[in-house]
Amino acid sequence: MVDIPEHLLKRSKDAKGKAGGAADAPADAPEPEEAAGAAEASEADAPAAAESSGIPAHLLARSKAARSKGGDEGDDAGGATKAATATKTPPAKAAPAAKPAAAGAGPARTQRLLAVVKAGSIQTTKKDPVDKVNVWPHLLVEEFVALLLVTAFLMVFSVLLSAPLQDQANPNLTPNPSKAPWYFLGLQELLTMFHPMVAGVTIPGIGIFALLAVPYIDRNPATKPSERKFAIAIFTFFLIYWSVLVMFGVFFRGPGFNFVWPWADGIFFDF
């Protein structure tokens, strides 16, 4: 049997008491269906009873039509709503809640079962409590300190080291070597190995596409490093590979983009 929370039990008992009317309302353990509160839609069986139940005529007509169609209207919801098909059920068997009514003196009632909801889905409406802290002051103070540190660092750096400014641009004078900015030096390095189309278009294209697709390729839900060794290994591999290419381009390429030892021939690079 499913665990039914206290307050739902109480509610269903109250409801039963009301529905029972004259009948002696037995307080037997309710079925999960009722606890779910889904079997509330009741309808009168005969038109004669319509007046007493106070249900508008057009709704009655609609429910009758639905009933005559019977169960061939399959439920497409599936899963939790396995009993959601609208089927005609004899009053006595309709749902336990209807029992007192059937036994009692009142008009015969039919209960229609609309859905069976699993207990879990109505019990976990509340989120688990999360340990939280106020953004002010805790986060804002940290951000402010980070901001000051970055500003201070950049200030000192900018006072000590000036941005390069070489001679005015001259299309007729190609410097040797000509290097791309550092973030594209990896591509320039690839240029020494592959056809320009492969190095300059295909590989970066695949690279960006692969990056975009990362969340859809890696379907492993784990976030613990020990449970995603492959993903980490492959990302680290590319990260190192890329860094090595960039470093190589920065330090080990001289005139003609040929290999040099930076300590012997100097560094041919400017930021």
Binding site: K132, V150, L165, N170, F184, D218, D270
Partner: protein
Amino acid sequence: MATKTNGNGNGKGKIAESVSNVMTEKVHGGQVWSSIFRPGSVFRKGYSDSPRNRAYTVMNSVLYHLHPVKVKRHAVKVSYTLCLGGVSFFLFILLTVTGIFLMFVYRPTAANAYQDIQALQTQVAFGLLVRNLHRWGAHLMTFTVFLHMARVFYHGAYKPPREFNWVVGVILLVLTLMLAFTGYLLPWDQLALWAVTVGTNMIGFTPVFGDQVRFILLGSNEIGPNTLLRWYTLHVLMFPFILVIFLAIHFWRVRKDGGISGPL
């Protein structure tokens, strides 16, 4: 409060005191002041450190309310995000501010650009410093965005429900690179011209429409005055504009996806 004395017996304290009283009562407590600073502002009269004011401080400030009122405890650990996303964002703001100052001096024409940079460095007060801040800030931002991406990867922070924010992030990465690259041309020195030449030559090898794309980007077949104007416009207007839009989506998604991921 108004009747308190400092007890040192000389009149100076009294004057200072009445000045401070006027400050608190008339200015600090006045209508003008409290219309500027919304409830919860630390500048408001009677600010006290209460849970309510802590919440108000965030909610009632246009800048701070990028944040929720509360975050998970582990989210404020510097060791988790390493502040890399935040630092990238701050650098972007710093680049916007310094960039605007540079625009006061710089003209994007082949005849003026180089001389303007020289003048900036030698004749404009703090011109060299601002240029250095802009240049080093740009390199640093490119780097921190890379690092931010790596930290997000190593935390598996792109996993559901954050897949799309990773995609937005990759777009931000590409935009950051494009901003850095278009800016690289603007000093119009040999370094700029030839670095961009190397970079854009590759575009021409794109199958089918490579030459057309290159022509559109350069404004001619070779890098020249047209390129300068085009890349200037891209650099100061178009790319920042697009970047800001995607930044808004990025931050919004961080919140909608339930705040920072983790703890691991």
